[in-house]
């Protein structure tokens, strides 16, 4: 092995020697663009911190998020309780720290359900066109026509409050924009020569859609998903605030804001700290989405 082996040169090679090297080189080029974008990097740092806090939650907090201590209720921020205590004497700092897990869980579950659903609906209807397209897009329009939070509320009201139902409700209302984007991308490429070439080689529709159409939709979808994550967090917090999301005593941020509402004037920290956490995290996802758009969107170059 040569000591002068240089990982940067290997990544940026114009003559990659394997599929893996070609792919990594491409990702590295994107990373170089992304790194030079301070807004995107700020977002990435916030999101990375969120993930780190969620993983390390038990080690970061001295108190458990559930231990009640009525003599210590509504204490202001101090050395012992960094963010103070709530109306049941629980340490707000550890509740915020443990709340990151709930927030991340909701975001991930919604994205895992909604993004693939939108991608499949949009690319299939854009690819085949005709009556299939008309039916699928009218259904999409119907779902889009409802205000998102109201529709989520209706679903949760029908299914019963709880974290899983909140996730289902948000996912059901989140897929139509993805379907629209995937359809638009698919329509621009469905008559292109590389699709025709694949058809001439005998590729089935399934293969054309999964191997040729999906990769072309991926970048716009990733951008949109990362920008939507803030909205998902807000919707989840909104449901929690209304008591329809995660149920007590789970340290869900929206529910924490809601319970702090009655002490707003005298004990501001009970509501303000979780509110600030929601603000920072949604800001982080928005900034990350902006940065990703600069890297992935071919039209922005």
């Amino acid at each position: 092995m040569t000591p002068a082996w240089n990982s940067t040169r290997w990544l940026l090679s114009h003559t990659p020697g394997s599929k893996v090297q070609a792919r990594l080189g491409r990702i590295y080029m994107g990373w170089l663009t992304f790194r030079s974008n301070p807004i995107g990097m700020t977002g990435l740092v916030i999101v990375a911190l969120l993930v780190a806090v969620a993983i390390l939650a038990p080690w970061l907090s001295e108190h458990t998020p559930f231990t009640q201590s009525l003599p210590d209720r509504l204490r202001p921020p101090s050395h012992d309780h960094w963010f103070g205590t709530d109306e049941l004497g629980r340490d707000i700092f550890s509740r915020i720290v443990h709340g990151t897990r709930i927030t991340l869980l909701i975001v991930c579950l919604v994205v895992i359900v909604a993004a693939p659903l939108g991608l499949v609906v949009g690319s299939v209807s854009g690819y085949f066109g005709g009556w299939l397209d008309i039916v699928a897009m009218r259904i999409t329009d119907i779902v889009l026509a409802f205000p998102r939070l109201i529709l989520a509320l209706a679903f949760v009201a029908a299914l019963g409050p709880g974290l899983e139902n909140a996730v289902i409700a948000i996912a059901v209302t989140a897929w139509p924009p993805y379907a629209r984007i995937a359809r638009a991308e698919t329509m621009t490429i469905r008559h292109s020569d590389f699709i025709n070439a694949a058809r001439l080689q005998g590729a089935t529709h399934f293969r054309v859609i999964t191997c040729h159409v999906f990769p072309m939709c991926a970048s716009s979808l990733i951008i949109r998903v990362s920008l939507d994550m803030a909205g998902i967090i807000l919707t989840a917090a909104g449901l929690g605030f209304l008591g329809l999301g995660a149920q007590p005593p789970a340290p869900e941020w929206g529910a924490m804001v809601s319970s702090g509402r009655q002490f707003m004037l005298d004990q501001w920290w009970v509501a303000a700290i979780p509110g600030l956490a929601i603000l920072i995290v949604s800001l982080g996802f928005n900034l990350l989405g902006d940065g990703l758009r600069d890297v992935l969107d071919p039209r922005s170059h």
Binding site: S18, K19, N196, A197, M216
Partner: protein, 251 residues
């Protein structure tokens, strides 16, 4: 190898029907290179679309490699008829490497030795192995067109349909690509149908060609007759005059 009789191709957009090809007839024997020449909009590309089965609405008779092309191409048809498109920037998937572009047809048809076949295909079209894992955006127009040719060849077809294979390239690269195509044809005994607006390209590649004008095949000629005799149809004369280029007005 190819029989086309009374071929009509229509494009429908809403209520409007555009008749692109108005009943043309021609035959191509195995191993022959047949050209279709005409200006843009003369319907020559529509003939290729019908031959490849990509055109939806056509009538008449087409027999190509023993089959009638339809929208549902049989696997045998795919293995005997392939096409090279005009624009090498649009015919390669921008997110696939050369390696995956060339291996895809092999895996669709369940052929083995994918890695060996891909590297043999690269050698055949005159690119070395360092191109194998590049993306199309890292290649020049001529290199991309070579990859498109390799992709058409990799299933070892009998017929190759060429839709203006050089018109998107610079003049110096055009000659390279045309020579590569005729080398491969001679080596593999392929049948070509070449569509071009450039009479010089057709005369270089083909032994016989048809002149298309407004959706009709106005004249069929051999290359010898192009050199010696006079064409009959006035449009053919016009094309030849255009191909000779900027001759002094006095001659």
């Amino acid at each position: 190898m190819i029989t086309v009789e009374e071929l009509r191709v229509d494009f429908r957009r809403g209520e409007d029907i555009l008749n692109a090809v108005a009943g043309i007839t021609f035959h191509v024997t195995a191993g022959e290179s047949y050209g279709l020449v005409g200006e843009s909009g003369s319907g020559k590309s529509s003939v290729l679309l019908a031959l490849s089965g990509l055109a939806k609405e056509w009538s008449g008779t087409i027999q190509i490699a023993g089959e009638t092309p339809t929208e549902r191409r049989s696997m045998d048809f795919c293995r005997s008829v392939q096409m090279v498109f005009q624009d090498p920037f649009g015919s390669l998937h921008p997110k696939h490497t050369v390696d995956s572009i060339l291996s895809e047809p092999l895996s669709i048809h369940g052929l083995g030795d994918i890695s060996d076949r891909v590297s043999a295909a690269l050698t055949e079209i005159g690119l070395d192995q360092s191109f194998r894992f590049r993306y199309p955006h890292q290649l020049s127009g001529g290199q991309r067109q070579r990859i498109a040719i390799a992709r058409a060849l990799i299933l070892a077809p009998k017929v190759i349909l060429l839709d203006e294979p050089t018109s998107a390239l610079d003049v110096s690269v055009q000659a390279e690509i045309l020579n590569l195509l005729s080398d491969i044809r001679d080596r593999r005994g392929l049948t070509f149908v070449l569509v071009s607006h450039d009479l010089a390209v057709v005369a270089h590649m083909c032994s016989r060609f048809g002149v298309m004008h407004l959706g009709e095949l106005v004249e069929e000629m051999t290359v010898e007759r192009l050199r010696t005799g006079e064409p009959e149809h006035p449009f053919t004369r016009q094309l030849i005059a255009a191909a000779r280029g900027y001759e002094p007005a006095t001659s």
